[in-house]
Symmetry: C2
Subunit: 213 residues, 2 copies
């Protein structure tokens, strides 16, 4: 059965991006360090058309991130291109002509835009009528496969607060960013309850899997 | 060689105590849940004069918390008794006549007080001249054994910001408190760098050990 899941890397002090995010620093100041565990892996490099790389205890996690995912939901800030209307030469995302998704991606935004079809099976759909609509569309596109929330913090928070997330895989890195986008914030009065499923020690990162209680 | 170490339980959203701490709720609203992994353990119950209890993957961690510790430092808020001067019938701490420390404990406070000697080798010393003085006194008392910072958040932050902590063992529980005392806060401009040493999956908790980089 299709699940709604999140795989996200968080600093020890709770941030999924550093302060002062911009087009130059999409993950904010210092935020690139967050993915220091992922980038050198062969499993990651392969999805970006590169050879070589490391194999370690994080490999199954890196493989899993896109495995069995039929659709992704992300916030406008993660897709990028600044806030506000899209303009004439609209931003096409951070991932080039052939993004690593290879499935439909639903971008939460207040600004309507035609779908953006790129190479390799990735089409970005811009959803202006809210998180529930995005989830419905993503589930329909994913079929039996899972729906993944790619980020950022705000998108994850909205689905978490609504109690809709089935599985949360936090990759916790030993970095203190001191500021930025905090993952577990704005969760409202009805704080979700989680159950720890497993924890994996890997070089420079601890992967902890949580399920909805 | 004597090390300065911290063992502390943190919620997934980064709190070591819930909101609205009081004498009735020393760990704030919901904060008691933090130690749900520790309280049922035989290793913990033994230190409180009780029999029975569980043995699981957290047992070595519970044993380690007080092993080889020759002195503890804690903040005034953790010792309790409210802020301000001590008064005539001064608060004797949360731990009864025979506290589980069995070594000298140095309490950071702005209010002078004579040492409080209780049963079983625990004497509380009240240090009014700052964190460095407390550390010097604790090191002298501990000899070759380690010095542990018991908490709370503010005490840990001050030693962490000063780059003085050798080892940090975070027991991360799958609880979202939504507010309270945040552990990794107020760390200043020179954010400390840490190295992940190990991570241990145990029932309802992940123990992650960090060392100073």
């Amino acid at each position: 059965m299709s699940r709604l899941k999140v795989n996200i890397t968080m600093s020890l002090d709770g941030f999924v991006a550093g302060p002062n995010q911009s087009e130059q620093d999409p993950l904010g100041i210092g935020g690139e360090q967050l993915h220091g565990w992922l980038i050198p892996l062969r499993a990651f490099r392969e999805t970006h058309g590169e050879q070589g790389g490391e194999v370690n205890a994080s490999t199954p996690i890196a493989v899993e991130i896109l495995a069995n995912v039929g659709a992704t939901i992300m916030g406008r800030n993660m897709f990028g291109g600044g806030p506000g209307p899209w303009g004439d030469h609209a931003w096409q995302g951070y991932w080039g002509a052939d993004p690593p998704y290879h499935h439909p991606v639903f971008v939460l935004t207040h600004h309507a835009r035609e779908p953006l079809q790129l190479d390799g099976g990735t089409t970005f759909h811009f959803v202006t009528d809210g998180t529930e609509s995005a989830l419905e569309q993503a589930r329909a596109a994913a079929g039996d496969r899972d729906v993944s929330i790619g980020g950022g913090a705000s998108a994850v928070q909205q689905y978490l607060a609504a109690g809709l997330i089935d599985e949360l895989l936090i990759s916790m890195v030993p970095i203190l960013l001191g500021g930025g986008a905090r993952l577990f914030d704005n969760l409202g009065e009805q704080v979700p309850t989680l159950r720890q499923v497993e924890a994996i020690h890997a070089p420079g990162v601890t992967h902890i899997r949580y399920a909805r209680q």
